[in-house]
Symmetry: C2
Subunit: 150 residues, 2 copies
C-alpha cells in the first residue's frame, strides 16, 4: 500500500513535507512487521533490542545507562523492560561492585538462545521487508543522514 492509500490523503505541502510523513509511515510498517515476527518468540521490539545490546557486550554486563545510550528510543524505560526480561530469566541483574548506584545487567544462556533464534528469523524478514538493491539502500541511507544533519 502506498502512503497516499494508507492515510487516504495526498495533500502534502511539498515533497519535504511528504517525506516526513513517509518516514513515519515506513517506520511504522517496519516496526509492525518486526513486532509480529517477534511475537513468535514472546518478545517485544524493545525487549529484543535490549537483548541484542547485551549480547554485543557479552559476557561483560552493562549498566542501565549504557543500555539506554545504545537504544534509538532513549526514553524507553530500561529498568522496567529489564524487569520483564528478568521474569522470563532472559537476563540477570545485580548491583555493580564498583559503583553501587549502578545495576549491571547480563544476558543469560537462555536469553542468548532465544535471541539467536529470533535474530535468524529477523534477518530473513529484513530481506523481505526492504525491497531495495544495495545501491538504492545506500542512497536512502545517504539521504536520511543528510536530512538529519543540522
Amino acid at each position: 500500500m502506498t502512503l497516499e492509500e494508507a492515510i487516504k490523503s495526498s495533500k502534502f505541502k511539498d515533497q519535504r513535507h511528504k517525506a516526513l510523513i513517509h518516514i513515519m509511515y515506513a517506520a511504522y510498517q517496519v516496526k509492525t512487521n518486526i513486532n509480529q515476527l517477534l511475537k513468535n518468540y514472546a518478545l517485544t521490539g524493545e525487549q529484543y533490542n535490549i537483548l541484542r545490546i547485551l549480547k554485543g557486550s557479552h559476557p561483560t554486563p552493562l549498566c542501565v545507562k549504557d543500555i539506554a545510550s545504545r537504544l534509538i528510543e532513549r526514553n524507553s524505560n530500561v529498568p522496567r523492560i529489564a524487569d520483564r526480561l528478568e521474569i522470563k530469566k532472559l537476563v540477570k541483574r545485580f548491583p555493580s561492585p564498583e559503583d553501587r548506584r549502578e545495576t549491571l545487567i547480563q544476558i543469560t544462556p537462555a536469553g542468548l538462545n532465544l535471541l539467536d533464534a529470533a535474530t535468524q528469523a529477523m534477518e530473513a524478514e529484513h530481506q523481505h521487508i526492504a525491497n531495495l538493491t544495495e545501491a538504492e539502500a545506500a542512497q536512502l541511507n545517504q539521504l536520511l543522514a543528510q536530512m538529519l544533519q543540522d
Copy 2:
C-alpha cells in the same frame, strides 16, 4: 548526530539492514521534535493528527472507524484519544442518527483555533527538520515507496 553515533554501533549486515534501522531512527527524531513542539499547545502527536483529520472533513463529523482509517498508526485507540480531546472541549461527540452503533466526532471552534496555531508552528518546524532540497525529498519519497511496495 549520525545513526552510528546515536546507537553507538556501526555493525550492519548490509546497506539494506542499515536502511531499516536508519528509518526507525529518523522517524523517532522527527516524532520527538514534533512532540516537543506540540507540548506548547498541550497536544500529543496523536491528538494533533486526529484534530487534523477532523478539520479535513469539517463541518462534517467523522465516525471512529473513519478516523482510524486515516491514521498511520492504526492501532491507536481512537475512542480514548477522543476522550481526552473531548475533556479539553476540542471535539464533541454524539451518536450517529443513521447508525446508532457509530459515534460521530466533530472538531469544535476551539479545536480549530488550537489546531491552526499548532499547524502554523508545525510548518515552520518541518522546514527546519527536513534538511533536503525538493529534488532530494522527491528522491527519498521514491525510495521509500519502492521499499514498501508489495
